[in-house]
Symmetry: C2
Subunit: 393 residues, 2 copies
């Protein structure tokens, strides 16, 4: 027999899920209504409008996929890629590799642009690759690499792709709401994100947006989209315009209550203010981490404020430090992923979790646990450095 | 600017979502923890055990797909079907047609066994088809057709499939928790369900289970699974055995809190008691509906207790009656789907929504609204009939 589950209280400062706003949690628990109820259809319209604001786009085809970010990624690929296509994929971390897998499974040929993990995508390499592959029809890259904390110059990469008449497909899972994402200004054709990062919601939904050029390509496909669940032609009969919505799948009603609340909070704060908040607390966290002698993986100019990857000090054991932080402090920070497993920690400052209380708590806990683990850290310097950073701002 | 959304109070007696238990709603709002947190991994193990109970199986590969029922269907097909395969699909409603779409999109050839909408699948037709198609490797059918309320004899259909050395793939979206589903006893190889029907949870997750024979076929595939998100080889690195779980996608943490609570309630009540409850309230609802002169679509022996499809009386307008029920009574009943659109209503009695209060309320509201709409209904007969039915039980 199982009994009701009461989760421990955590402070979530990993790569996501990050702390969920109490307003969002409360919204999740509101009574379920039907997925075709007129009141729910009105809510869907509000969610679309709020997502257009978050993505800075007027794309009518803007909505949440009813599944986590990896399904959002797959939704973009299976709709835009046909068997035999050539797709240029820029890889500078784990998620570029996942994009490659998606291209292969859609029957297309990936051409890789490789950059070191922890660096931004190099625009010159993309241009050179596109010169050598005039047959390419799509360029895919990760705006904010969750595995390293590197941010790429999406505006420049999109402009280069357009020069070569390629559509663009962008991963904004970790960036949306935390750092500027400007779908229309950059000319992005397909973009996906997740709810569990800077949108302050639990995991489970993947906001996406598609440009008119992307929709044209989807309408002109020679092969049916290989996924029935993710086929935008069908999904839009439910998420489309007007009051008549055709049943496609049953939408995750309560998760959408939560997303609506998280997006409403973002709208109240204002995107620019949210971006500034992420920069501000990142500056303080960075000052503290560096005062402890921790080194960032990503060069300063290419760094995401909301995901701080630092090298694990020599002689310090990864798993036992994270476990101690979790057990003694209820604090979750992220392990390294892929090639960086065991070598780095990823400290998130995302959405509702991005605040001074968390910065202070994380620095205090890390200082104590690293001290225990034998690292030579002078007590109090991290907090002092963070406080000086706040005072300067 | 949008403001927080406060849903109206509804009584959900359509084809799902059905009323969600307050215990489940409350569980959804508990604080989010990490998807690799040891406490969460322990919760995942409990969910697997509870799902094994609900499905009556010992299959280790039993877990919820992180997306609604249609994704669960797709998960079963893309893992078990390879390009060039022949798949026998039994269709007696909307969802058999969706299965056919899945087969085609996986590059395989569907061979259809057609039965009238509103009837069970005819085992003799399946046997005849399998005789004519010895190349078939899989038989897919819907146990509980949500579009009509017909229940097929899954044990017999699975036995026939085995005679012809075919695996079986079963839709139990509407049956699980409401009427017997016995995966091991029937020899089902792949099965999917949804959370928003008889499990008393919101929509968004799809419990699935796979037999050892199904896993063998997946391991022996010649082609990669076309979906990265739904590839069981990868999903099981997260949902598998042991305490070490590899990141695949980020699980929908709070939705899983809700599912755990809904399954715990089912375990507390006991499956047999839940099945008996669905039969009991169905008997009363049926007595009331028939006393009003409404006719069932499905012959009695093939009827699902939890989904009651009745013909719309001559001269009564479908949409305005449903709208009036919703606006004046907050009561949602379901419209017809596909070939039955505009011809039937689907009245659900699922999970937490399956209780005497709802039966009584639905009959009262329907009697009043049908009276308004000009149907010749003697006042009070429906409630009397329902009460007599309860008294006899």
């Amino acid at each position: 027999m199982s009994s009701p589950f009461h989760p421990p209280r955590r402070v979530l400062m990993g790569p996501g899920p990050s702390d969920v706003s109490p307003r969002v949690l409360e919204a999740l628990a509101r009574p379920t209504i039907g997925h075709l109820d007129p009141e729910f259809v009105a809510l869907m319209d509000e969610i679309k409008g709020l997502l257009q604001y978050a993505f800075q786009t007027e794309n009518p085809m803007t909505m949440p996929v009813s599944a986590p970010g990896s399904a959002g990624m797959e939704c973009c690929f299976v709709n835009l890629v046909e068997p035999g296509d050539t797709v240029v994929v820029c890889q500078n971390g784990v998620f570029g590799g996942r994009m490659k897998e998606n291209v292969i499974r859609a029957g297309a040929k990936p051409v890789m642009v490789e950059d070191p993990w922890g660096r931004a995508v190099d625009p010159d390499k993309l241009r050179d690759t596109l010169k050598r592959h005039p047959e390419a029809s799509l360029v895919a890259f990760v705006h904010a690499e969750t595995s390293t904390g590197a941010q790429s110059d999406a505006a420049t990469l999109c402009a280069i792709a357009r020069e070569f008449d390629c559509l663009t497909l962008v991963d904004a899972v970790t960036s949306l709401g935390g750092t500027p994402v400007r779908v229309d200004a950059w000319g992005v054709d397909a973009i996906y994100s997740g709810t569990q990062k800077c949108l302050s919601c639990p995991p489970g939904l993947s906001p996406v947006s598609f440009s008119e050029r992307a929709l044209e390509r989807i309408r002109d496909r020679g092969h049916p989209v290989q996924s029935w669940f993710l086929d935008l032609n069908l999904v839009m009969s439910y998420w489309g315009e007007g009051t008549q919505r055709a049943y496609h799948h049953t939408a995750p009603v309560n998760a959408l209550y939560g997303l609506h609340e998280g997006l409403t909070m973002l709208r109240e704060e204002g995107l620019e203010n949210a971006w500034a908040r992420h920069r501000r607390h990142h500056q303080a966290l960075k000052a503290g981490l560096e005062a402890m002698g921790l080194e960032f993986v990503v060069p300063e100019a290419e760094r995401l404020p909301q995901l701080n990857a630092v090298r694990i000090p020599e002689g310090v054991e990864d798993a036992s430090v994270r476990r101690r932080l979790l057990d003694a402090y209820g604090l979750e920070i992220g392990a390294g992923l892929g090639a960086l497993a065991g070598k780095v920690w990823r400290i998130g400052l995302m959405g509702y979790a991005c605040n001074r209380r968390n910065v202070t708590y994380c620095l205090s806990a890390l200082e104590s646990v690293l001290g225990e683990a034998g690292a030579a850290i002078e007590r109090g310097v991290a907090l002092e450095a963070a406080q000086r950073a706040y005072d300067r701002m």
